[in-house]
Symmetry: C2
DNA sequence: CTTGACCCTCCAGCGACTGGAAGCCCCATA
DNA sequence: TATGGGGCTTCCAGTCGCTGGAGGGTCAAG
């Protein structure tokens, strides 16, 4: 399978697939002409990576998850630990963003948004703690 | 005012302040010895930047907001437009993360997390669309 | 034989810093 | 006057996960 086909099946751009090879996540064979030749197993790995990435796992997490995936004797606890840690980070990120959103939406609501220069958004940024 | 003092007042690390000078957000004077000499106005700008950044505005947004802040004749509509756009992006980011969180927390919940290799997290990543 | 779609490598850049090296400068203390 | 410690300077490189582009080889169809 050439990179294009793999790209279509996995939804990952060719550039990304090449990058994943660069950093050692997949190791496709090569045809005589130098083209990458992906086996089924390679493609499944890439699909796995794609899904793990959509769930926001870092590349290093992905590398570990992939290793666990390949290891038929792994303990599910190991996987769960990674996922839990990641979940906690996502939750932290969400609440940070929610704080931003709350402050911002108050400011946007209170701003007339007309031709006059008076603006609570700038006023807040200029003087108060924007929390 | 030296960079250290400004750093203390604004909460921004010296490195960041130097970086902001590099990209033209502030233009401190220089003492004879080469040290940066910040005026009050510079420090206020930096404080403004710090607050705008905590609200998640990009550097380019900050540059624009700063210009509007300095322009006493600006229309509040211009500021509001930037903030609204940013707010929309934050909301998009939040809902993306919430989707991740929902999927992940289901998976984490369903995973025994013991010594056995059976793991719904890996099962999902390996086969299904992780949505 | 040419066209156009593929594929290859290598280098650079994104955003917003951050770390570290190498080297001044300034002040206090011995 | 020497020394030590902190603060300041510049410059370069690295972070993360790609992405764009240049410059070129390969392949199948018409």
């Amino acid at each position: 399978m050439n990179i294009g086909e793999v790209s279509q099946h996995t939804g990952l751009p060719p550039k990304t697939i090449r990058y994943y090879e660069d950093i050692g996540l997949v190791k496709p064979l090569r045809d005589a002409n130098g083209y990458r030749a992906f086996r089924e197993s390679e493609m499944h790995k890439l699909a796995f990576l794609g899904r793990a990435r959509t769930l926001g796992f870092s590349i290093e997490d992905c590398r570990n998850l992939l290793a666990l995936w390949e290891d038929k004797n792994r303990a599910s606890a190991d996987v769960r630990a990674i996922a839990k840690e990641h979940l906690a980070q996502i939750e932290a990120k969400i609440s940070g963003l929610q704080e931003m959103r709350d402050t911002l939406s108050t400011l946007v609501r209170d701003c007339a948004g007309d031709d006059r220069p008076d603006c609570p958004i700038l006023k807040t940024l200029g003087t108060a703690a924007a929390t």
